[in-house]
Symmetry: C2
Subunit: 337 residues, 2 copies
DNA sequence: TTGTATGCGTTATCAC
DNA sequence: GTGATAACGCATACAA
């Protein structure tokens, strides 16, 4: 068993409160005799004293912990987000407790419940994205709360996300500008906010250019690699396949590339590709794939800023921040004009 | 403020202890009147009671939490490991608290200290890998403890890792079997266990085949993409560059591919590649890259098994488990014979 | 400058 | 069956 305040107290002959005061060192708050301090500090060192955080948290009714829930930590977007946010929080002397919801609203709900029961000082949730009732309840609990990425429009809470709509739109507008008219889309999980926004961006870009959105050019299922693989094959089986395809996520792209290889086709000679997300490998592929990059670091920084503001001013106006993604042109789109 | 036991007690007229008993429901332990139970359960429901985990943990001196520290959660190897381990632990009703050490031993040390102070029931550390004194101290504290991946040989603790030595060895033996003699290596951070083991595997494979390990064919710096890029360029500048290169990590490969593209060279026509690690994109590259895959899921499962065993039997013999990686042959190695 | 007493919310031991 | 009561380890208001 590790040393407690009372062990130091006994060893030095002082009381627990004196020991506590010395070890916490509120600047100039309580004056303690210098000799006393030295003895106590020495004893603490010798016993290897480490404060019991549980007891302290219970007493202070503060934890200096921020809870975070992500739908899939094995995806780089989220693990990187987690990393950067944790790093920022560290500067403010906050720890982060992350839970992986494994794309399951039930687990997400449990995670939030647990975090609330752990009395974290703030909560960041990247919702799985299909249900939000439990989030409403969480907001009611009054905890400083922030949704990220797969936000819900109706939720009365701060939020930060990437402008999925506009990102998709500039990607497709770029394809059109290069002379493409038969443009396909392979998107991800229906009903999720980013997916719907990306799809809408695609559709609006076509509409604006006077191009009809063909149903057969529209495939979807999930954001996974296997989905990309299957749907790409399906699209290639069409009598008049599209000349260019927009992918709603980097994993979809990966699967589509596999399908392309199997058909011995060449990008961009036979078909042009552009993807939402800019995974690390995109620029290393042959050819390097043009992409719409999400500003993850800015998202992380803004998240911390918003949450800390909410913690400092619980009654501040709700902010819903939308960050702009960036088009990165590489060599995967053929110029048709 | 959320409801406490005492709020339910006041509302129903029963005492705190009765309320606690009902809410914890030890099977057949304490008999409580059925009517009482119903009233209390109803009141709890109505007040939205959630037990305060901090108070409970303090009282029970158990947290049902496992701490985990990884050097870089944004790397897929670790984020995936975290995900799978957390999933397994969930089945045993344990939560996981993960911290990212950001490849910094100082942060790793702080993280461990904090986890210990939080009184987690067990601790899994994937060490940054350059220093281990603080790990020895951790072991002394008596907490069920496990190192993973970048283990230290001298540490008296359970450990689980991939056989980096053998993985590198079978990769290089494969290159030799295909007729290569001028074989380069670009490895990662010197002094870390996986790196040294992979390097030694490379060297021993050459030695066994009677091939001298040329110093100019050996480059290193870190496991990063940029390192791979620079070192590959350097190797290509040699008068007689190697005909095949073994990379100690998937990110290094990515950088090397970029260098290759810039020189307008072709894999495997001009040079052959094989890499340790099998990142998701390896099979989608052109050509698909042959690789040595780490059995991440087995590692995760074994980690949980070892830790739970240690928690159940603190005095069991120390186990150091080594799992075998697997050679995955794709199209990135030319047959020279 | 230091000590005493109290409470944070829970569970467990004991008595009734 | 149920209720007082005492910890768990810490930080603070108040006394001395």
């Amino acid at each position: 068993m590790s040393a407690r305040l009372i062990d130091i107290a006994r060893k030095t002959g002082y009381s627990v409160s004196t020991v506590s005061r010395v070890l916490n060192q509120k600047p100039g708050k309580y004056p303690v005799h210098e000799k006393t301090q030295k003895q106590i500090l020495a004893a603490a060192e010798e016993l290897g004293y480490r404060p019991n955080i549980i007891a302290r948290n219970l007493r202070l009714r503060k934890t200096r912990e921020i809870g975070m829930v992500v739908p899939d930590i094995s995806k780089r977007f989220f693990s990187f987000l987690v990393k950067i946010i944790a790093k920022h929080l560290r500067e403010f002397d906050y720890k982060m407790i992350v839970y992986d919801a494994d794309e399951d609203t039930g687990i997400e709900k449990d995670a939030i419940t647990n975090l609330l029961a752990k009395k974290v000082d703030g909560l960041i949730v990247c919702p799985v994205g299909v249900e939000s009732r439990h989030l409403e309840q969480t907001i009611q609990s009054g905890i400083p709360f922030l949704t990220m990425d797969r936000c819900f429009e109706h939720l009365k809470a701060d939020s930060i996300s990437v402008d999925n709509y506009n990102g998709a739109r500039i990607a497709v507008e770029y394809l059109i500008a290069e002379g493409h008219h038969k443009i396909g889309v392979i998107h991800g999980l229906q009903g999720t906010w980013p997916n719907e926004m990306r799809l809408k961006g695609y559709q609006d870009a076509l509409k604006q250019a006077g191009i009809k959105a063909e149903k057969r050019y529209n495939q979807c299922d999930s954001f996974g690699t296997f989905n990309g693989y299957l749907e790409m094959h399906q699209m290639l089986r069409l009598d008049d396949p599209p000349t260019a395809v927009f992918f709603a996520g980097g994993y979809i792209l990966l699967g589509a590339l596999k399908a392309i290889r199997e058909k011995n086709l060449n990008v961009p000679r036979d078909i042009s590709f552009i993807t939402f997300d800019d995974p690390t490998y995109a620029m290393q592929l042959t050819p390097p794939i043009s992409a719409v990059a999400q500003p993850i670091e800015e998202v992380a920084a803004m998240a911390v800023k918003l949450l800390l503001r909410r913690m400092a001013e619980p009654d501040a106006d709700i902010e819903n921040v939308l960050l702009q993604p960036q088009l990165i042109v590489r060599d995967s789109v053929a110029k048709l004009i």
